[in-house]
């Protein structure tokens, strides 16, 4: 079957016929080769892999066992090998994996659909990276399982496949905020904590999104990169947790009756010259309702 300018790959995925046929159409034999030989593509992918590994915060000088989801033709995997790590790559396209085999990558390759779940025993990997692959799980079509279900199956199997304290870093190009919300909701449901790190938020060309997820231990979210002369007002990280916090600081003032509010009020009255009790350890201490 020939659809200009792509030919449909001989491999047909039984599950999720539509979107993955699209991916397979994009990355058929010719396109896969072109993708891997394009020097600009190689440069971008290598840079993103480098940043993703940096965000993984692996112990220094220690070879680790990593997972590369959506490894494709092994461009990111090559970076992992160069950094001294051993890796396993999963991809759904045989064409891309064939290119990876031709390029003689050091990691092991698996042909699989990440939306079906990862086929690993619990606690195997020290970390996981994924470069430009997660968005393929988000597109919906009536014939397939729902994207949230596939995302959840992927994240929950990933969570169990990672060792405690391991991280998963995904470089993604989010289409819109709904897609981002969908992804983060399913990740949190699977038990991950973490957040989004945005590099160069003010440059439309250089802007990159990295979703950093922690399995088991809550970590400090790394700061996004930004160029020197940017406006510091734009934040380049968003941390999400499972906690629901009540709105603080409405209209720039402290929430009424909180310790901050009480201390501010006392200061105000002192400035007005009124007689105010000294501050002790009991100031603004929470009293029982019967008080």
């Amino acid at each position: 079957m020939y659809i200009w300018p792509y030919t449909v790959s001989a491999v047909v995925c039984h599950v999720c016929k539509c979107v993955l046929v699209l991916y397979l159409q994009f990355y058929n034999e010719q396109e896969a080769k072109k993708y891997s030989q394009n020097s600009r593509m190689i440069e971008i992918q290598t840079q993103m892999s480098e940043r993703a590994v940096e965000l993984l915060s692996l112990p220094e000088d220690q070879p680790c066992y990593l997972l590369d989801v959506g490894c494709g033709s092994g461009l990111s995997g090559d970076y992992l090998s160069e950094a001294g790590h051993y890796w396993v790559g999963v991809d759904i396209s045989t064409a891309m994996l064939d290119v990876a085999l031709q390029r003689d990558v050091e990691g092991d390759l698996l042909l699989g659909d990440m939306g079906e779940g990862l086929p690993f025993r619990p606690g195997m990997f020290d970390g996981c990276i994924s470069i430009s692959a997660l968005q393929w799980l988000c597109n919906a079509d009536k014939k397939t399982h729902s994207p949230p279900k596939r995302l959840y199956r992927f994240f929950s199997t990933l969570y169990s496949s990672l060792a405690r304290g391991a991280r998963a870093v995904f470089q993604i190009y989010p289409e819109n905020s709904e897609q981002l919300e969908l992804i983060t909701a399913q990740a949190m449901k699977a038990g991950f904590t973490g957040g989004m790190v945005v590099d160069y938020p003010n440059s439309s060309k250089a802007k990159k999104f990295f979703l950093c997820l922690f399995a088991g231990v809550s970590g400090v979210l790394p700061k996004g990169l930004c160029s020197e002369s940017t406006d510091r007002g734009v934040s380049n990280q968003a941390q999400f947790t499972a906690q629901r916090s009540r709105f603080k600081n409405m209209k720039g003032k402290s929430v009424k009756k909180s310790k901050d509010w009480i201390m501010e009020k006392k200061e105000r009255r002192r400035r007005q010259g009124k007689d105010v009790r000294a501050d002790t350890k009991y100031t603004a201490r929470h009293r029982k309702p019967r008080f």
Partner: protein, 112 residues
């Protein structure tokens, strides 16, 4: 597919309780040379499903971290032996995952 990866794999078909260890039915195997890294091998040993390694006549010794010869032996088994053609069979359901050109096909069909 290296034996280290095989050690990590399990059948992820829904409804299967213990999908590992997958039984290897190899028709073609090859042996590569790969750089030996002692810290990596000793870190991976606790994670392994040892029954698969002991099936290849290699018993786990208590003080393995210092025994370089033992580590080299494990390295050879895990990282240098590769299954090129064959299939993996789930011990519980009998479902087979074919391996071609060293790449196992873990794609599931509609009902799984």
């Amino acid at each position: 597919m290296k034996l280290l990866t095989h050690n990590m794999l399990t059948s992820h078909v829904q409804g299967v309780i213990k999908g590992y260890p997958l039984i290897i039915k190899a028709t073609e195997v090859k042996v590569n040379e790969l750089e030996f890294s002692a810290p990596f091998v000793s870190r991976m040993i606790p994670k392994l499903e040892w029954s698969l390694i002991s099936a290849l006549n290699c018993t786990l010794i208590p003080d393995y971290e210092k025994d370089e010869e033992f580590l080299r032996k494990v390295h050879r088994i895990l990282l240098e032996v590769e299954v090129v053609e064959g299939c993996l069979q789930c011990p519980e359901s009998g479902r087979e995952f074919p391996i071609s050109k060293g790449v196992p096909n873990m794609l599931l069909i509609e009902d799984e």
